[in-house]
C-alpha cells in the first residue's frame, strides 16, 4: 500500500454515528472502535476470518437495502450503514446463542472455563433467557486426550474453527480437523495421530469454551480466584509476552499476550508450560553446602554466604571465574557483573556455554527486529537453528511472514527443519563450510556461482537471484558441532550484501540481557568493551578487571589445569549444557570451590558444587528481560520464592557486602537507573518508557562500542573417506533442566538416534533403526541409525540432548569440526 492509500479513510455509520475507518478494516473491528461491541466466537484477529459461528451478524446497508451480514467477514466500505442493535440483529444473536446452547452440556459448575467463558458471558449479555430445547443433548465421550497435554471435550465444542485454524494455518501442524457432518460434526485427530504440536497450548487459550483444556491447569483454579500480572516468557530468547496467573501464591497458568512486535499472543508449549518446574518438589528452598561426607546438606544463609566469602577472599582475581547468567533478569545480571568484574575484578566471566556465538557477531552487526525480518517483500536468510525447535514464537512469526506477507526465505542450515517447506531455497553446506558457502553466495550476486561446500553452483546462483528487498539474516548456532567462529565468519560474508541486518537467534533465555550487562569476557555493561567502557563504568564501579579474561571453554580448561580457585556457576548446568561434556566434567571437578546459584539441583551441582545458593525464579522476583532483538520488557513478581530462596541480584549485593564492598544497588529500579547511567545504549530504558511499553517493551538499539567480527577461520579440510562430519542440533524438548522438572513436559524428549545422508546410510548396509556405534576422537555412543536425505553427503547427525549430554561426549570444544566414524555395533 502506498502512503497515499494509507492516508485514505472511508466513512461508516455505526448506529447513527459516523466514524472513520481504514479501507480493508473489518466491520467487527471498526464497530468495536466505535464503541459498539459485536459478539463473536469464531473471529480471532490473528487468524483469517471464517464466518462460521454467525454470532456477529448485524444489519448492514451498502446501498442495496439492509440485510444481516457477518461483520467479521465484511471489510468496511465508504457509505456503509450498520445497525448493531436492531430487533432483527438481536433476534439473530438470540437465535445463534440458542442454537449453540441446544447441545451444550450444563457443565459450568465443573468446567475450567466457567467464569472466563465467552459462551457464558455472551449468553448473559446477548442470549435468550430460557431454553426451549427439551430433547436429550448430543453425547460424546468426555474428555479425550488428543495429546499428552491437551484434552478435548467434544460436547462443549461450538465448532468455531479456532483451534483447527490455528493448528492448520498458524502452526502448520495439520493434526486436528473437523470430522463427520451435520449435528455430528466434531473436532478430532486422525486415529493414531495425536495432536503432537509444539504449539498446542495456544488452541486451549483461544478456545472460546471449555472444550480444550491443558493438563497443567485442569481443575486447578477458578478464574475468579486468579490474580495476574504481566511478564515475559523465559524459556527461550524470543521474549514472548505473557500474563502470569496465580492463586494462593502458586503460579497456575501462563497465557500469551498479544504484543504486536513480538509474539502476537502465541506461545510455544515450552514457554507456556515450563512454569511447572517452578512449582516442582525439587525446587531449592534453602542454601546447601557440602558436608564432610561430600553430601549436600541444607544450611542457613549466613553459613553459606560466609563460606563463599571465605573462598573468594583467598583467591586472586584471575583465579576466580563465573559462568552462566542467562537465566537471570537484566538487573540481576548487572548486579552479578558488577560483583564479578567490579568487586572481584575477574574478567573470566561468560554467560554462553560454548554453544553461542562470538559477541561481535551478536552485538557488532547491524541489528534487526522481528518486524524487520518479517517485512512484506523482504528476504529472510535463516543461518541458524531451526526456529521451530528453539524459538517457537519466532517460528510462527516467520512462517506468517513467508506464507501471508510474501517474504522470501532462504535457508542456510545443516539439515531440513521446520521452515524448509516454505523456503524458496534450502542450502545445506557441509559442516564447517558455512564461510565458504556464504562467500560463494555473495559472489554469486555479482557473478558466477561455483559448487561450494557440497552445494551445487546452480543452487547457489538461484538463491542469490532470489534475494529480494531488504535482507534479514536470522543468525545463530545451528549445529553445536560447528564453532561459533565459523558462523561469525559466514555472517561477515553476508554483511556484504546490500541492505542487510541481523536478528540474533541465540536461544538461551535472557542471554541478550546477559551480553548487554557485560557477562562475557572483555565486555562491560552497555555493549562496550573493557577498554572502551572502562572510563564510564569505572566511575561508578569500585574497580575493573585488568585484562580480558577467559570464555567458558577457557575457564573449564584452566580449571582442569588447577588454575581456578573459585568457580561461580550462575544458573547453569555445564555438565549437560556445555558443548564438550568431558571438558565440563573435568573443569568442574578440578575447581577449588564451586559456588552454584540455582533453582533446582542439577547434575553439575550434584557432581561438583560446594556451596549452593537457592535463587528466586521467574515470577518470583521483579525485573526486566532483554529479548533477541534487544527489546526490554518487564517481568513482574507474582508469587514468593520457595523457602528462603532470594532474588539473584540480592545475593550479589549480599556477597559484595560481606566482602566489604557496597554495590549500591538496593532494588531492581535502582539497578536499572545505574545501568542507564553507565550505558548510553540503554538511554531510553527509563521507567516512563517501560510503563508505555508495558506490552511491547522498549527496544535498546545500536551496536554501542562493539565492532563487527573479523574473519578468523581458515579453510576447512574435507573429511577422509572413513569418517563423517558431525552435525548436532537441538529440539524443543531437549530434556533440559526446566523440562525435566515439568510434570507435563517430562516425557516428551525424543530418543537418541543417528541420522546419515542416504549414501552413507546405504554404505553402512543396515536396516533403519539398527543400533550402531558413533565414535569421535573424544568419545562414543550407541544409537539407532536412520537415513536423512537433507543431510549433506559425508555428514552424520546426532541430536543434542541435555540429559547426560550424549552428543556432548563426541564434541571437542576446541575443534573447528568433529569427525566421527559410524560402524555397526
Amino acid at each position: 500500500m502506498s502512503r497515499a492509500d494509507e492516508a485514505e479513510t472511508v466513512n461508516v455509520t455505526v448506529n447513527g454515528a459516523e466514524i472513520e475507518a481504514s479501507p480493508g478494516e473489518l466491520l467487527i473491528d471498526a464497530c468495536e472502535r466505535a464503541g459498539a461491541y459485536i459478539p463473536r466466537f469464531c473471529y480471532h484477529s490473528r487468524m483469517k476470518p471464517v464466518g462460521m459461528c454467525r454470532m456477529c451478524l448485524v444489519e448492514v446497508d451498502t446501498g442495496r437495502g439492509a440485510a444481516l451480514q457477518p461483520s467479521c467477514m465484511l471489510p468496511v466500505s465508504d457509505g456503509m450503514t450498520v445497525e448493531t442493535e436492531t430487533d432483527l440483529t438481536k433476534k439473530a444473536q438470540d437465535g445463534v446463542l440458542e442454537f449453540l446452547l441446544v447441545n451444550h452440556p450444563l457443565d459450568c459448575p465443573v468446567c475450567d472455563k466457567g467464569g472466563e467463558c465467552p459462551l457464558q458471558d455472551q449468553t448473559v449479555a446477548f442470549g435468550p433467557g430460557e431454553s426451549r430445547f427439551v430433547e436429550e443433548k448430543r453425547h460424546y465421550e468426555k474428555p479425550i486426550a488428543i495429546s499428552d497435554t491437551v484434552y478435548l471435550d467434544r460436547e462443549r465444542c461450538i465448532l468455531c474453527d479456532r483451534c483447527t485454524r490455528f493448528a492448520n494455518d498458524v502452526a502448520g501442524d495439520t493434526l486436528i480437523h473437523f470430522m463427520d457432518r451435520g449435528n455430528n460434526t466434531q473436532v478430532n485427530t486422525f486415529p493414531d495421530e495425536p495432536f503432537a504440536s509444539y504449539f498446542s497450548g495456544n488452541t486451549v487459550q483461544i478456545c472460546p469454551v471449555g472444550a480444550l483444556t491443558a493438563k497443567p491447569y485442569r481443575f486447578k483454579a477458578r478464574p475468579w480466584d486468579l490474580e495476574e500480572t504481566i511478564s515475559t516468557a523465559w524459556t527461550d530468547s524470543v521474549g514472548s509476552r505473557i500474563t502470569v496467573q496465580s492463586s494462593r501464591n502458586e503460579v497456575l497458568r501462563l497465557l500469551g499476550v498479544d504484543a504486536d512486535s513480538v509474539n502476537w499472543g502465541w506461545l510455544s508449549d515450552k514457554e507456556r508450560f515450563a512454569f511447572e518446574a517452578l512449582n516442582s518438589e525439587d525446587r531449592l528452598g534453602r542454601p546447601l553446602v557440602r558436608d564432610d561426607d561430600h553430601q549436600l546438606v541444607a544450611t542457613g544463609w549466613g553459613d553459606a554466604l560466609d563460606r563463599a566469602v571465605a573462598a573468594l577472599q583467598g583467591a586472586a582475581p584471575e583465579r576466580i571465574a563465573m559462568i552462566g547468567g542467562a537465566r537471570l533478569t537484566n538487573e540481576s545480571q548487572y548486579a552479578w557483573a558488577k560483583l564479578a568484574k567490579g568487586v572481584l575484578r575477574t574478567d573470566n566471566v561468560d554467560s554462553q556455554l560454548g554453544d553461542g556465538l562470538p559477541v561481535e557477531a551478536v552485538l557488532g552487526l547491524p541489528r534487526a527486529t522481528i518486524d524487520d525480518a518479517c517485512r512484506p517483500g523482504g528476504t529472510i536468510i535463516l543461518m541458524g537453528p531451526d526456529p521451530k525447535e528453539e524459538l517457537g514464537a519466532l517460528y510462527l512469526r516467520l512462517r506468517h511472514a513467508v506464507l501471508e506477507d510474501g517474504a522470501t526465505l532462504i535457508e542456510i542450515t545443516p539439515r531440513a527443519g521446520g521452515l524448509t517447506g516454505l523456503a524458496s531455497h534450502s542450502l545445506h553446506p557441509r559442516p564447517g563450510e558455512l564461510p565458504a558457502l556464504t562467500a560463494a553466495l555473495v559472489a554469486a550476486v555479482n557473478g558466477e556461482a561455483v559448487d561450494t561446500a557440497g552445494v551445487g553452483g546452480g543452487v547457489i546462483a538461484a538463491a542469490a537471484a532470489a534475494l529480494d528487498g531488504p535482507v534479514t539474516v536470522v543468525l545463530g548456532r545451528a549445529s553445536l558441532a560447528e564453532t561459533g567462529e565459523s558462523v561469525a565468519d559466514a555472517a561477515v560474508n553476508l554483511s556484504r550484501l546490500d541492505d542487510v541486518s541481523f536478528l540474533s537467534a541465540l536461544r538461551r533465555g535472557n542471554i541478550h540481557g546477559a551480553l548487554d550487562a557485560g557477562l562475557s569476557p572483555g565486555l562491560l555493561p552497555g555493549r562496550t568493551t573493557l577498554s572502551a567502557g572502562s572510563e564510564r563504568v569505572g566511575e561508578v564501579w569500585p574497580g575493573l578487571p585488568e585484562s580480558d579474561g577467559l570464555d567458558t571453554a577457557g575457564i573449564l580448561a584452566a580449571s582442569a589445569e588447577g588454575d581456578i580457585d573459585v568457580l561461580i556457576v550462575l544458573g547453569a548446568d555445564p555438565i549437560n549444557d556445555f558443548v564438550d561434556h568431558a571438558a565440563a566434567v573435568a573443569g568442574l571437578e578440578a575447581a577449588g570451590t564451586v559456588i552454584a546459584v540455582d533453582l533446582v539441583r542439577n547434575d553439575s551441582i550434584e557432581a561438583a558444587a560446594h556451596i549452593v545458593f537457592a535463587a528466586a525464579g521467574p515470577t518470583e522476583s521483579s525485573g526486566t528481560f532483554t529479548n533477541l532483538e534487544g527489546r526490554v520488557s518487564v517481568c513482574e513478581q507474582k508469587v514468593t520464592p520457595p523457602g528462603t530462596a532470594r532474588p539473584d541480584w540480592m545475593l550479589a549485593t549480599e556477597l559484595a557486602h560481606r566482602l566489604g564492598a557496597d554495590l549500591g544497588l538496593d532494588s531492581p529500579e535502582s539497578i536499572r537507573a545505574e545501568l542507564v547511567s553507565v550505558s548510553p545504549v540503554h538511554h531510553n530504558l527509563i521507567e516512563e518508557a517501560l510503563a508505555v511499553g508495558r506490552i511491547d517493551g522498549v527496544l535498546v538499539e545500536g551496536n554501542g562500542d562493539i565492532a563487527a567480527p573479523v574473519s578468523t577461520t581458515a579453510d576447512v579440510p574435507s573429511n577422509d573417506a572413513y569418517s563423517l562430519r558431525l552435525v548436532s542440533t537441538r529440539s524443543m524438548y531437549d530434556d533440559g533442566v526446566a523440562l525435566r522438572h515439568s510434570a507435563s513436559s517430562r516425557g516428551l524428549a525424543r530418543g537418541l538416534d543417528v541420522r546419515l545422508s542416504p549414501t552413507e546410510f546405504d554404505k553402512l548396509g543396515v536396516k533403519p533403526g539398527t543400533i550402531v556405534k558413533v565414535e569421535s576422537s573424544c568419545g562414543q555412543l550407541l544409537a539407532p541409525a536412520f537415513a536423512d536425505s537433507s543431510l549433506p553427503a559425508g555428514s552424520a547427525h546426532v541430536p543434542w540432548s541435555a540429559a547426560g549430554s550424549p552428543a556432548g561426549s563426541l564434541i571437542d570444544a576446541g575443534a573447528p569440526f568433529i569427525d566421527v566414524r559410524v560402524e555397526r555395533a
Binding site: V50, G51, C53, F99, E135, F178, D180, R181, G182
Partner: protein
C-alpha cells in the same frame, strides 16, 4: 393410451415424443459409445466451433439465453462473461454431483450420453479460453463415473481432448474426479473445496461467483451437467433455432424428474416456459395424472429445497419468473408429487431429516437448527408434541431464515404467496432449505400438526377432505 413407454436401457427416462435437444440419443442402447455418438453427429459441433472464433460461440450461447440447470437458473452466457481478463489459468468445473432430493436427470445424461457432455465441455473451454476441465461426479454414481471414464479415454484416443485438438491450436485436458457422498459438495464452492482436497464446505460470499476466485484461487466457471449438455446443440443449430422451443424468457427444453404418486414417474425432456405443471403431471405424453382413486395433495416443484405447491399452482408455466413469484422455484428440476395418502408432517420430516444429515456443520444455525427441527418433528410424530411446538418450529425456522419465508398462496385461507428467495443467517442456502417443508406444511396443514399434538386420534389423512 400407453401407460409405459420407458426406454428399457435408460431406466427412468420416458420418451414423451417432444423436441429432443439433450436426449436425442437416449433411444439407442449404445448411446454412450463413441461410435454411436459419432454416427449421430457427435463432435460435429466441436468442429463447427473450432471453425469459428471463441467470441462467436460465447455470443451464440448468450443469445440463446441458456439458463443454468443446477438450481439457480442463472444464464450461462452471462456467467461466462464474469471471467476477469488476464488471470491465467482459467478452469471449467462440471457439477455432476446431483443429489437434490427428487432429482435424477444429470445421472441419465452422464450415463446415456457422456460424449455429449464432454463435447459441451470442450466447446465451453474453447469459447472461454479455459485451460483445464474438471468433471466432478457424485460419489454414489458408479455407472456414470465408469461411462465418463470410458468416454474420456475414447475421446482422448480420437484426438478430441488433449494437445492440439483436431489439429488446431486448441488444447485442453479433462480430469475426472468423484465425491465421497456428501450432498453439500453440489454447492459450487464446496465442490471446489472438495476438488482441492479439502473438506467439502461452502466458501464465504463474496465473491459471489467462482468466476472471480475459484479453484486454486483461479477464475473458474462452474456449470451443471445438463447446462453443458445443451452447448453442442446450441453451437450446431444456433441460438435462433434454440429459441424456437420454449418461451421467450426460458427458451429450449429442460429435463424434469418427476417422482411420487403419478401414474408414470420419470425423467422428461420438456419445452420450458410453455409447458405447465398440469401438462407435465397430468398430460398423456407425460405423467398421466395421479394414481387411480387418489387426488393430488401437494407437490415439490423444483427439488427438495423448493417450497411446496398445491392444486392452485398447477397451471403455472415451467418458468423461473412466475414460479418464483408464486413462492417457490424450479431449482434442480425435480418434482415430487404427493397424493392424499401422504401424511404432511411425515413428509416434512423426511425432507428436513435429509438437510439435517447433510448440513456440512459450518454455520451454527444450520448445524444445530436443522437437527432441532428434525427432532421436534419426530417428537410430534411420536405423539410427544407440545402445543407450543408449532410456533417454536416456525421460530427456529425464522432463526435460520429470518423474515417471511417463501410460500405458495392459499386461497382458502385468503393468504397471498410470499415470493422466492428466502433470506438466510447461514453461509449457503442448505440450512434455509430445511425450512421449506416446515413452513409449507404448517401453513396449509396446521390441523394435521395439531391433531398429532393434542393426542387426539389422528385424522385419517385420506379422509381429510371429507372432514373439513
Amino acid at each position: 393410451m400407453p401407460t409405459h413407454s420407458y426406454v428399457p436401457h435408460a431406466p427412468g427416462y420416458v420418451d414423451n415424443e417432444g423436441p429432443k435437444i439433450v436426449t436425442s440419443r437416449f433411444g439407442y442402447e449404445d448411446s454412450f459409445t463413441l461410435e454411436r455418438s459419432q454416427a449421430t453427429g457427435g463432435y460435429q459441433a466441436l468442429r463447427t466451433a473450432l471453425d469459428k472464433t471463441p467470441a462467436e460461440i460465447h455470443s451464440e450461447v448468450r443469445e440463446a439465453t441458456l439458463l443454468g440447470r443446477g438450481g439457480a437458473g442463472f444464464p450461462a452466457g452471462i456467467k461466462w462473461g464474469f471471467l476477469p481478463p488476464g488471470k491465467f489459468p482459467y478452469y471449467l468445473v462440471v457439477n455432476g454431483d446431483e443429489s437434490e432430493p427428487g432429482t435424477y436427470k444429470d445421472r441419465l445424461l452422464m450415463e446415456r450420453d457422456p460424449h455429449q457432455l464432454i463435447e459441451g465441455c470442450l466447446i465451453t473451454c474453447y469459447a472461454l479460453g479455459l485451460q483445464q476441465c474438471f468433471l466432478y461426479v457424485r460419489g454414489e454414481m458408479a455407472l456414470a463415473q465408469e461411462r465418463i471414464a470410458q468416454a474420456l479415454n475414447e475421446a482422448y484416443a480420437e484426438g478430441y481432448i488433449g494437445k492440439n485438438i483436431l489439429g488446431t491450436e486448441f488444447s485442453v485436458d479433462v480430469v475426472l474426479t468423484w465425491g465421497a457422498g456428501a450432498y453439500i459438495v453440489g454447492e459450487e464452492t464446496a465442490l471446489i473445496e472438495s476438488l482441492e482436497g479439502n473438506r467439502g464446505m461452502p466458501r464465504l460470499k463474496p465473491p459471489y461467483f467462482p468466476a472471480a476466485v475459484g479453484l486454486y484461487g483461479q477464475p473458474t466457471i462452474v456449470n451443471n451437467v445438463e447446462t453443458l449438455s445443451n452447448v453442442p446443440w446450441v453451437t450446431e443449430n444456433g441460438a435462433r433455432q434454440y429459441k424456437t422451443y420454449g418461451s421467450e424468457k426460458s427458451p429450449g427444453t429442460r429435463m424434469f424428474a418427476v417422482s411420487g404418486h403419478v401414474k408414470r414417474p420419470g425423467v422428461y425432456e420438456v419445452e420450458q416456459g410453455i409447458t405447465t405443471f398440469r401438462d407435465l403431471l397430468y398430460g398423456d405424453n407425460f405423467c398421466q395424472g395421479i394414481r387411480d382413486g387418489h387426488e393430488l395433495k401437494m407437490f415439490v416443484p423444483g427439488g427438495g429445497s423448493a417450497p411446496w405447491f398445491f392444486e392452485e399452482q398447477l397451471d403455472l408455466p415451467l418458468e423461473a419468473g412466475p414460479v418464483g413469484a408464486a413462492g417457490s422455484m424450479l431449482g434442480s428440476g425435480g418434482i415430487i408429487v404427493m397424493d392424499d395418502t401422504t401424511d404432511a408432517v411425515k413428509a416434512a420430516l423426511r425432507l428436513v431429516r435429509f438437510y439435517a444429515r447433510e448440513s456440512c456443520g459450518k454455520c451454527t444455525p444450520c448445524r444445530e437448527g436443522t437437527t432441532w427441527e428434525e427432532r421436534v418433528l419426530q417428537r410430534i410424530l411420536d405423539g410427544e408434541g407440545r402445543p407450543s411446538d408449532i410456533e417454536m418450529l416456525l421460530d427456529i425456522a425464522d432463526n435460520i431464515s429470518p423474515g417471511p419465508y417463501p410460500v405458495a398462496a392459499d386461497p382458502a385461507q385468503d393468504l397471498d404467496a410470499i415470493p422466492f428467495p428466502p433470506k438466510q443467517t447461514t453461509i449457503c442456502p442448505l440450512g434455509p432449505s430445511s425450512v421449506a417443508p416446515i413452513t409449507s406444511t404448517i401453513r396449509r396443514f396446521r390441523h394435521e400438526y395439531e391433531a398429532k399434538i393434542t393426542k387426539r386420534d389422528p385424522i385419517p389423512v385420506a379422509a381429510e377432505k371429507a372432514v373439513s
